[in-house]
C-alpha cells in the first residue's frame, strides 16, 4: 500500500487493490469493502455502510456504484470519481488485454474450467455480503422479518425489485420497523 496519506490516493490504492481480488463481481466484493471502509479505515459506520448499499440499490446503474458513495463520504465529488475509476479502471484494462489475447488463442478450454471453479467461491462471497449487511440492517425482529419476506417474495415472484424496495421504504417511513 502507498505510504501517501492524501485521502484521494488512499482511496485510489485501496479500491484498485480490492478490485483485483473482486471475483464474482461487485456484490461479492462487499465484505471486503465493508472490512476496509468500516473496520480498518473507519471511513463510515456499520449503519452508514448499510445505508450506502440501500442507496446504491435504489439508484440505477451497476451495483459497483456503492464505491462512489464510499468515496463521496471520504472526499466529496472527487472522492466518488476516484473510487469509481480505481474500482473499475484497472480491471477493465485487464479484461481488455485478456480478451485480445484469448481471441488470438481460440478454442481454449480452460475458461470454462476456471468459471466452474469460481462459481462456488462467488456464491460464498455473496452469501457473506448478505450476512454482513443483514447484521447492520436487521436490528430487531420486525426488520429481520421484512428481510425474510422480501427474500421469499423475490424468490417466488418476478415482481420488479424496485417495488419491494419502495414498499420497504414506506414501511420504514410509517415507523413500522
Amino acid at each position: 500500500m502507498s505510504g501517501d496519506d492524501h485521502p484521494l490516493s488512499q482511496l485510489f490504492w485501496t479500491f484498485a487493490l480490492i478490485s483485483l481480488f473482486a471475483v464474482g463481481g461487485a456484490v461479492a466484493a462487499i465484505p471486503e469493502l465493508h472490512r476496509i471502509a468500516v473496520d480498518v479505515r473507519h471511513w463510515m459506520t456499520d449503519k452508514q455502510f448499510a445505508d450506502a448499499f440501500a442507496l446504491s440499490q435504489l439508484s440505477p446503474g451497476p451495483n459497483v456504484m456503492i464505491v462512489a458513495l464510499i468515496g463521496y463520504s471520504v472526499a466529496g465529488v472527487a472522492g466518488a470519481a476516484v473510487a469509481t475509476l480505481a474500482m473499475c479502471g484497472p480491471t477493465a484494462v485487464l479484461a481488455y488485454v485478456v480478451s485480445r489475447w484469448l481471441s488470438n488463442a481460440k478454442g481454449a478450454r480452460w475458461p470454462a474450467m476456471v468459471q466452474a471453479a469460481l462459481v462456488p467461491l462467488s456464491i460464498g462471497l455473496m452469501a457473506a455480503s448478505a450476512w454482513i449487511l443483514g447484521q447492520a440492517s436487521d436490528q430487531n425482529w420486525r426488520a429481520f422479518a421484512l428481510t425474510i419476506i422480501a427474500a421469499v417474495v423475490a424468490s417466488l415472484t418476478r415482481l420488479n425489485p424496485l417495488w419491494l424496495l419502495a414498499a420497504g421504504g414506506c414501511l420504514g417511513f410509517a415507523g413500522l420497523l
Binding site: 480490492i18 478490485s19 481480488f21 461487485a26 466484493a29 471486503e32 472490512r35 473496520d39 445505508d51 450506502a52 440501500a54 440499490q57 435504489l58 439508484s59 440505477p60 446503474g61 451497476p62 456504484m65 462512489a68 458513495l69 463521496y72 463520504s73 469509481t84 473499475c88 480491471t91 477493465a92 485487464l94 479484461a95 474450467m113 468459471q115 466452474a116 471453479a117 469460481l118 462459481v119 462456488p120 467461491l121 456464491i123 460464498g124 462471497l125 452469501a127 457473506a128 455480503s129 448478505a130 454482513i132 449487511l133 447492520a136 436487521d138 419476506i149 422480501a150 427474500a151 417474495v153 424468490s155 420488479n160 424496495l165 420497504g168 421504504g169 414506506c170 420504514g172 417511513f173 413500522l176
Partner: protein, 198 residues
C-alpha cells in the same frame, strides 16, 4: 422473433455490419445503465443482442463468461471488452464512460442529499426499510445461485461455498488471504474432477 426484422437470410447477416459511432456507443451504454435497477446485465443483453444486433446471443454469452471470471465488476468489464471489439480502445472507453458516468453523477447527488438529510428521522426510518429489503433481495439472488449446485448435488462446490462464507462472513478474514488459498484449491479440485470424469 418477429418476421419483419428476421428476413430469410443467413443468420450472420442479421447482425449489424457497420460498427456504431463512439457517440452511439456512449449513449447506448448510458441508457442501459440508467434503466438498470438492481443490475444492468439484463438490459445490456436486451440492448446489445435484441435491439441493436451488435452481437449474437452466443457471442454475448461468451463475452460475458469471460468478463465474469475475470476480477472486477462484470458489467464494466463487458462494456470495455465489447466497446473495444467494435471500435478499438476508444470504443471501449466510450462504453465504459457511458456505463459509469451518468449513474455516478446520480448517486453522488443522492450521497450529497444523504449527507445533508441523512440524520432526519423520517429519511433515516425509510432508508432502514429499504436496506432490510435490499438484504432480502440479495439473499434471494444467493438462493437462486445455490439451487443449481443443490440440483447437481455438487458436494464439493457446496463445501467450497460454505468455507468461503465462514472465512469471509463470520471470521471476517481479509479477502486476499482467503482467495489466495481458495482459488488454487477450487481450481485443483475442479481439474481433478474433470480428469476423473473422463
Amino acid at each position: 422473433m418477429p418476421p419483419e426484422i428476421a428476413p430469410a437470410v443467413h443468420p450472420a447477416a442479421d447482425i449489424a455490419k457497420i460498427p456504431p459511432s463512439l457517440r452511439t456507443l456512449f449513449f447506448a451504454f448510458a441508457k442501459m445503465s440508467l434503466s438498470g435497477f438492481g443490475g444492468v446485465l439484463v438490459f445490456a443483453r436486451r440492448a446489445i443482442v435484441d435491439e441493436h444486433r451488435w452481437m449474437t446471443a452466443e457471442e454475448f454469452n461468451e463475452t460475458f463468461a469471460l468478463c465474469h471470471f475475470l476480477p472486477g465488476p462484470n458489467i464494466v468489464n463487458l462494456a470495455m471488452v465489447f466497446g473495444a471489439r467494435l471500435r478499438g480502445i476508444a470504443g471501449g472507453i466510450a462504453a465504459f464512460t457511458g456505463l459509469l458516468g451518468p449513474p455516478m453523477l446520480l448517486i453522488t447527488a443522492l450521497g450529497a442529499l444523504y449527507g445533508h438529510y441523512g440524520q432526519a428521522e423520517a429519511l433515516r426510518r425509510a432508508l432502514e426499510g429499504v436496506s432490510c429489503v435490499a438484504v432480502g433481495l440479495l439473499a434471494s439472488v444467493v438462493l437462486r445461485m445455490i439451487s443449481p449446485l443443490l440440483k447437481k448435488s455438487d458436494v464439493v462446490g457446496l463445501v467450497v461455498m460454505a468455507a468461503v462464507f465462514v472465512a469471509i462472513g463470520l471470521a471476517r478474514l481479509p479477502l486476499q488471504e482467503v482467495l489466495l488459498v481458495a482459488v488454487p484449491l477450487s481450481l485443483a479440485i475442479t481439474y481433478a474432477k474433470a480428469r476423473w470424469a473422463r
